[in-house]
Symmetry: C2
Subunit: 65 residues, 2 copies
């Protein structure tokens, strides 16, 4: 499978936000809705800092919505 793990950068530290992310979609123009392969979802208010798909890693900057 080709899902990725999402991390949230807060105060310069990477915190695991969600494993096995499948879908990312804009949410209210303030952030993103992140959904994993099990259908669980979280809202991140902030921006995408970087994605490295081959490394299965997505970095967000902001806070949980």
């Amino acid at each position: 499978m080709c899902e990725a793990d999402a991390y949230l950068i807060k105060d310069g530290e990477e915190e695991l936000l969600m494993k096995a992310v499948d879908v990312i979609e804009p949410e209210d123009d303030q952030g993103y809705r992140v959904v994993n392969i099990f259908g669980e979802q979280k809202i991140v208010k902030g921006r995408i800092k970087g994605m490295h798909l081959v490394d299965h890693k997505i970095l967000f900057e902001g806070e949980l919505g």
Copy 2:
């Protein structure tokens, strides 16, 4: 490999932007730099419309920079 194909939505149509995308990073707060596994890169001015990693698909809305 777990790279994805990036598409650019223009006038409601999906156009293939780049295959085998590895890295996506913000560029000048106006868009994103998209880099594939061969090191080729393109700049998209616009926003991420959606990502579906299990389907290996990334959708941008905007135009080439």
